[in-house]
């Protein structure tokens, strides 16, 4: 059997159908002895994929083997589980795999961790409850298990906030690995655990992104890995590449950036082609943050543009694409088009990516309209049928709606388009791709009236000629016909239209026949034509009120009332006999559906592909020479600045090395000639370089242009925008408060403005005794802000008439929770509030926050404390309010979320003239916005009936002394601020509201051993979110 199965695998691999053997493979895995089992599992994992029905038969086998005492059987089972396993069946084996995490054998623990990694990829919600065990795996004494757990963390840390505390451990691990502390077993060609290193670098870059304090922890170790990785083997290059990427991702540090840039430089100029490729790839990544880096390598980039390997060329174009700006766009696009033309000579090569890039490019930087249209014409005629269908559609939309420019420009653009299309149609049209023809006919039909003195008859004639071309497909024909219909109003056109429509009304193609008839009628009846084409704005009754009578009639005849799909699903769920308990362990149903997203097919988004042997070969060897020149002469200041000097230097260089490339033995004359050629080539390249790199560095643009105009300024700002987020200045904040009363100051926040009597917060406790004042400002703001509706208000701080009150605060250099609490404004301390938590701190300032719950609002209190000995000036707090507003408006009005993040920054001057910034983020949970809703049972009943949709879920009951229902409900009440309306027998009704006043009603009933809860609310997703917190609360109890 085993032999036969092996043969079946072989057949399948060669492409022959062997599906009859699938079932035998499963049987073999099930019943065979160890040896047969192994082959059986192998066959199964090669034959079937995750959605195959037969896999269900395998579940039991896997279960049995996981419980086996035989190490090898367990290993086999874990391997097959991580290779393929149906998503629905994960709950069945999850406990067993989890148990394996504590197995004494290292290999089993490792495989179990990897299997869980796989589960996490398939269904993240189902492994949520074992996150703590992942931590244990991370701390495993065996480095192999630890390495495996990093795979999971790399996935988890895609959402880095909750893992910042692990940064220290990751840094420590990396330091040990780099320092060679691991057993020799893990070395690969004398490099200590390269895979582990790369994994860690990726994790660190995720953690350090846009986060200065976390990034600071890792500077040292990154520096060390850069230093340790000697340039000698592919694997170290791979590490270096990853390292450079990390350095550019995290909060920037100039020293490291410099080193990284140098490292990339080495890559790019390397003679090894793979390294060159990787260097270009790194460059692509890096120039997005700092375009001036491309300047240093401009000559190399030019070299690569003419490289014989088209993959390298393509990568180079990608770099160029990133540094596109208003000045060099024309040159770059020209280069790309050249490349396209070359590539298309080999028919099997699609090169859609670049074609896709063009419209994007042209939109942002296109120098003028004419150029844009012409470029698009080339793109369309080259791209042809291979082009992604979105591109023409997008282009037409652009023509129709414009891209935000002036109406006049818009018209101009259209006229250009019409002009150029007419010229095209007048020449030979046979070679134009169908898509382009469609674009042309649409644009002519829509916009040809814009051009003065153009007879519709002329256009129609051209179109009719096009229509008769043999190679035009019927799809394009129908585009043309509809364009003609639009134009058929004029006198000459009508006659022509009649002719055409007569011919096509007997066409075999139904669509064409239909359109021809339409054309016929429209052209005969000018009035109809006018009405037809000017009646664009149809009135739509969005409430569908005209259906009301129909609905009521149907209802009166006994039809069932409409139920939302969501509701129907719930009902179906109720009817099902199978217990679905395991599926709803951790999250409400609506949240668990997100798991599929990660698993798209790798080729789903197919845009680009390429390969070609393009042979624009330069004289081999000449490159080394020029590279030398590049390196020595051009520093950071850029190349153009010293163009002349460079040329001279290059020539001197060449003269000094007569032993040029190929020809030491060919004699002087020839080398002399090559020399001449080379300088010409060289000069051309330099010209090219200067046109390509225009506008990248500041010196360059001024040097070339004489003045730096505003557009290039804009561009530069744009490139910087990428790292501006990390630079700590939140430009977006719609409100920032600068208050500098005396030396200290603080305060600003989200507050409720209606209440002018009590408010306020903020104490600064100065560490020194001589400056012991803490001021609290009473502020109110009468201005209405969008937050009013949502129960949140933004307060502009300290207007002149603010009342000052002093808390005298004895100096406390160490800040503790208690000292913070003592500073808590008395007005607020009466309100229920959360614990004060430290958000962030540096050497002189620490920042804490707390949430206080008022009946009608949530107060978010920020407490700043000065923990240094010196005074702090110019304190200002910025909250990213735009963001907050967005999140709150969605949170409260549209779609409740379980949590949102608040971000902001505090800047201050500890030393005069030196501003420091401290960033912070905090989370607000849905529960912060929940308040009890007090109402009577009757009111509850009425309200209940007024909402239609409900969500149902079974929750855990708290088993304690006394009535379990009562205990459970009061636990919920305690934690979530719900209001218990009534408890009758085994049923209880509970109500709460989401600020400002969106009610949510809960109806709870003891059902079996659990608590069945129905929730109703006018907000669609509020019940789901609330359920999540109910579950969480009850799990914790």
């Amino acid at each position: 059997m085993k032999e036969i199965m092996v043969r079946a695998i072989y057949c399948e691999m060669l492409g022959y159908e062997a599906s009859f053997s699938y079932i035998h493979a499963i049987k073999l895995a099930q019943q065979g002895s160890a040896i047969e089992k192994r082959v059986g599992y192998l066959a199964v994992s090669l034959f079937l994929n995750e959605s195959h029905d037969l896999l269900l038969l395998l579940v039991n086998t896997v279960l049995k083997d996981l419980q086996s005492t035989n190490l090898i059987e367990v290993c086999m089972a874990l391997t097959v589980v991580s290779q393929l396993f149906p998503k629905d069946m994960i709950p069945a084996i999850l406990p067993l795999v989890e148990e394996k995490l504590t197995n004494p054998k290292e290999i089993i623990r490792r495989k179990a961790v990897l299997a869980l990694h796989k589960f996490y990829l398939i269904a993240p919600n189902q492994v949520q409850h074992i996150h703590s065990k992942f931590r244990k795996a991370l701390c495993d004494k065996d480095p192999g298990v630890m390495t495996a757990s990093l795979h999971i963390y790399l996935q988890l840390i895609k959402n880095p906030d909750s893992y910042k505390d692990l940064t220290g451990s990751f840094v420590a691990i990396l330091r040990q690995v780099v320092g060679g502390k691991l057993p020799v077993d893990f070395n690969y060609h004398n490099v200590p655990a390269p895979w582990l290193q790369i994994q860690l670098l990726r994790i660190l870059s995720l953690l350090g992104k846009d986060d200065q304090s976390t990034s600071e922890l890792m500077y040292e170790v990154l520096d060390e890995s850069l230093r340790r990785a000697e340039m000698n083997h592919n694997i170290t290059y791979a590490i270096l590449y990853e390292c450079v990427k990390a350095i550019y991702t995290i909060y920037p540090k100039s020293e490291l950036l410099e080193k990284a840039a140098k490292c990339i430089g080495n890559f790019v100029v390397s003679p090894k082609i793979n390294l060159k490729y990787l260097g270009l790839k790194a460059l692509t990544y890096v120039v997005q943050q700092d375009a001036s880096l491309a300047l240093q390598h401009q000559m190399t980039i030019i070299e690569c543009l003419d490289h014989s390997d088209s993959i390298i060329k393509r990568e180079t174009l990608e770099v160029l694409f990133r540094i596109t700006n208003v000045k060099n766009v024309a040159v770059i696009v020209e280069k790309m088009l050249d490349f396209l033309k070359n590539v298309f000579m080999e028919p099997d090569i699609l090169f859609l990516l670049y074609v896709g890039c063009f419209p994007l490019l042209s939109d942002t930087y296109s120098p003028n309209n004419e150029w844009f249209i012409q470029t698009m014409n080339v793109v369309f005629s080259l791209g042809g049928e291979l082009m992604h269908p979105d591109i023409p559609n997008n282009f037409l939309r652009l023509l129709a709606q414009g891209f935000g420019s002036e109406e006049e420009e818009q018209q101009q653009l259209r006229v250009f388009a019409v002009d150029s299309y007419l010229t095209l149609l007048e020449s030979d049209t046979a070679h134009l791709p169908q898509r382009f023809l469609q674009v042309i006919s649409w644009a002519l039909g829509e916009f040809s009236y814009l051009k003065d003195g153009l007879e519709p008859c002329k256009v129609t004639k051209l179109l009719a000629k096009l229509l008769d071309e043999r190679n035009v497909t019927s799809e394009s024909r129908s585009w043309i016909l509809s364009a003609m219909a639009k134009l058929s109003a004029g006198p000459g056109a009508a006659a022509l239209a009649l002719q055409v429509s007569e011919r096509y009304s007997s066409s075999l193609d139904t669509v064409l026949r239909q359109q021809a008839l339409e054309l016929l009628h429209l052209s005969q009846d000018p009035e109809l034509h006018a009405r037809f084409f000017h009646l664009w704005h149809v009135q739509v009754d969005s409430s569908l009120s005209f259906l009301d009578s129909f609905v009521s009639e149907a209802l009166s005849q006994g039809a069932a009332p409409y139920k939302a799909p969501h509701q129907r699903q719930e009902e179906l769920r109720q009817e099902k006999a199978l217990s679905l308990e395991p599926y709803s362990i951790s999250l409400p149903v609506s949240l668990s559906s997100c798991s599929i997203t990660d698993r798209q097919s790798p080729t789903l988004l197919s845009m680009s592909s390429s390969l070609s042997g393009n042979s624009n070969e330069l004289k081999a060897g000449s490159s080394t020479l020029k590279l030398e020149g590049v390196k020595r002469v051009w520093g950071k200041e850029g190349y153009l600045h010293q163009q002349d000097a460079v040329e001279e230097a290059a020539q001197v260089e060449e003269a000094a090395t007569p032993a040029l490339p190929l020809s030491p033995q060919q004699g002087g004359a020839e080398s002399q000639q090559t020399h001449g050629d080379l300088t010409v080539v060289e000069q051309e390249k330099q010209k090219l370089a200067s046109s390509l790199f225009v506008g990248l560095g500041s010196q360059n643009s001024t040097f070339l242009m004489g003045k730096s105009d505003s557009t290039s300024q804009q561009f530069r700002r744009k490139t910087r925008a990428a790292d501006s987020t990390s630079s700590g200045v939140s430009e977006r904040s719609s409100s920032s408060s600068h208050s500098s009363c005396s030396d200290f100051l603080h305060n600003n926040l989200l507050e409720d403005s209606q209440n002018s009597l009590n408010t306020q917060k903020i104490g600064v406790s100065n560490g020194t005794h001589e400056g012991p004042v803490t001021q609290s400002f009473q502020t109110t703001s009468k201005e209405t802000s969008p937050f009013l509706d949502a129960g949140m208000v933004l307060v502009q701080p300290c207007s002149p008439q603010t009342e000052l009150r002093d808390f005298v605060q004895p100096g406390s250099s160490g800040i503790t929770q208690t000292s913070l609490r003592s500073q808590f404004p008395p007005e607020l301390s009466q309100l229920p509030h959360s614990d004060i938590s430290l958000l962030s701190s540096d050497h002189s300032l620490s920042l804490s926050a707390c949430r206080a719950y008022r009946d009608d609002a949530l107060l978010f209190v920020i407490i700043l404390s000065n923990c240094s000995q010196s005074s702090t000036n110019g304190l200002s707090v910025q909250l990213d309010c735009k963001h907050i507003f967005e999140t709150f408006s969605t949170l409260i009005q549209v779609e409740p979320h379980t949590q949102v993040t608040v971000a902001g920054s505090v800047s201050y001057r500890a030393v005069p003239g030196h501003t420091q910034t401290l960033q912070f983020t905090d989370k607000l949970f849905l529960t912060d916005f929940i308040r009890p809703l007090t109402l009577s049972t009757e009111e509850y009943g009425k309200l209940w009936l007024s909402f239609s949709q409900d969500v149902r879920q079974n929750l855990k009951l708290i088993q304690g002394e006394g009535d379990p229902l009562r205990a459970t409900l009061s636990a919920l009440k305690e934690q979530l601020q719900l209001h218990i309306v009534d408890i009758i027998g085994s049923e209880g009704i509970v109500a709460c509201r989401l600020l400002p006043d969106s009610p949510c009603l809960l109806h709870c009933r003891i059902h079996g051993g659990s608590l069945a809860v129905w929730l109703r609310s006018p907000l669609l997703s509020l019940p789901d979110c609330l359920l999540y917190y109910c579950q969480k609360t009850l799990e914790e109890c």
């Binding site: 492409g15 040896i35 991580s82 014989s308 390429s610």
Partner: protein
């Protein structure tokens, strides 16, 4: 994450597949198409060009070892050099197991080659990098297999 590892020998500008292992679920037809396109693309490469290719949104890394091409398909943002080293390590492992591996070894013992791959990569991620420990675990399974065979062939009294 690696999507696919495969190995083929060139045959008339068309690859003859010797080994293929997928780590991501894809329909059968798609798989065949990818493998077919990949082999023709790789075989069309000229010597002295780089070892990386783009295929739609995948990246293909290949390397030639004697008469065999080893390929893997990765996601765009993966590190190509690392993938190259994964291939290299796999070949080293095969070499250690078979002792100077050649194409015939893989043809006649391809299930062994799969077992080695399973020990090396799991779910598309590198599981174990140490040559020694992979050799150990393969040996352990082989041993079990042999003892079981012996046991089974004896008549049971």
């Amino acid at each position: 994450q690696t999507h696919l590892i495969c190995c083929f020998s060139p045959n008339n500008r068309q690859g003859k597949l010797r080994l293929q292992k997928w780590f991501t679920p894809l329909p059968e037809r798609e798989r065949k198409k990818i493998v077919r396109d990949m082999t023709t693309l790789v075989l069309a490469r000229k010597p002295r060009t780089c070892n990386f290719l783009h295929w739609k949104d995948l990246k293909i890394v290949y390397k030639r070892y004697a008469s065999l091409y080893f390929c893997c398909a990765l996601e765009e943002q993966e590190n190509e050099l690392l993938a190259l080293e994964i291939l290299h390590r796999y070949v080293e492992l095969l070499d250690k197991y078979f002792g100077n591996v050649c194409e015939l070894d893989i043809i006649f013992n391809f299930e062994k080659a799969y077992f080695i791959l399973d020990e090396f990569l799991m779910g598309g991620e590198v599981q174990e990098t140490s040559k020694q420990s992979i050799a150990n675990s393969i040996e352990a399974s082989d041993m079990l297999q042999e003892t079981m065979e012996e046991y089974m062939s004896k008549p049971a009294f």
